[in-house]
Symmetry: C2
Subunit: 209 residues, 2 copies
């Protein structure tokens, strides 16, 4: 089993933190996004989307979505449970993980990739170039703030994003809460429940993974 | 258990088709998106995102993401299996379902919502308005075609999107293959593997759900 990884990017961090929580030791292969190694023929033959993380399983399957990588590891190494015990818990973990991906991650990425000179003509991952649109920076900022407001409302009711158990949804939220600093947003500012949650999750050693 | 539904939208269709494949009978509550009922105080107290489908489970939990609704139903009604048997299969279903959501659904939605007069100032669901940007129509079109090209490559290798078993990933792909007609794209044109897959899935009675 091998994890194609890059230590500066938020999605690989989710996979590494999940692996650390499980207490697993998985070989890592560095794909340097700063050097565009994800667009090499070698890597796009593994993942045509040109994204990391990718998990190569022992049977040679390539999983290219973080949620799928975590689902696989959860099934082969069930303890500690990170994706819910009951049908309701399992569903809530996927529910909040999806919200974090589609409303949080994509909004921050929209802002960053339309703003940073490093992403000029690289607004989406993959081989096809899309040019930056400055209008999308402000739109991404508003959507990011709107996302963290929704999360604040949720965390006023529960200790962990999917309910009373720490889960993949929290790992995903941590990754993007830190990712927000790339676009000069501090999600903890004026959001006390999120701040308390951040303090709580920061006590876990897996955050350094 | 109740499903908040709207029969013209692609995501509720995924939930309905999944329910039909399971042979379940679940009460439906119509939320008329054409009349903006999803933004009523009553509905946003259930789902602040203002989207359908939403599943209200028997314990009163609201699931607002289609993948979470399906995960819940898969766990309480395992047969027929629609989200994989083995760890690898389960992961591949989530993997491809996620790709369909984030690369297919979001691209078509980007095109449609920036184009159709019906979505003026409604580029994203929810209570906050974002204005249309005509430039995003062409970008959405290119991303949609790029997505279906990737799917074509995949379906040249396998009968069903996640492998050899029909799954949620196929249900999601069907919903957006038909959704593409809203933006005047015929995904089957010049894509023979996708065409064969479409013929195969159209034989299932659940497609009418």
């Amino acid at each position: 089993m091998r994890l194609f990884d890059f230590n500066r990017a938020p999605n690989p961090r989710r996979a590494r933190m999940f692996i650390a929580e499980k207490g697993l030791d998985i070989e890592k292969v560095n794909v340097n996004l700063f050097r565009m190694e994800q667009l090499s023929d070698e890597f796009t033959s593994i993942n045509p989307l040109g994204t990391v993380p990718v998990l190569e399983t022992d049977d040679g399957t390539y999983l290219t979505e973080t949620v799928a990588i975590c689902c696989y590891l959860e099934n082969i190494h069930p303890e500690p449970v990170l994706m819910g015990h009951t049908a309701t818990e399992k569903a809530l973990v996927l529910n909040w993980n999806n919200i974090v991906e589609q409303h949080g991650m994509l909004s921050i990425a929209e802002m960053l990739r339309n703003w940073s000179p490093g992403f000029r003509d690289r607004v989406f991952p993959g081989k096809i170039n899309y040019h930056q649109m400055p209008e999308l920076i402000e739109r991404g900022r508003l959507r990011t703030l709107q996302f963290f407001d929704m999360i604040e409302t949720r965390l006023q009711l529960v200790n962990w994003l999917a309910g009373e158990q720490f889960s993949l949804a929290d790992i995903s939220l941590l990754a993007i809460s830190d990712f927000a600093s790339w676009v000069e947003i501090d999600p903890l500012e004026n959001r006390s429940a999120l701040q308390a949650w951040y303090t709580r999750i920061s006590e876990r050693s897996s955050v350094k993974a």
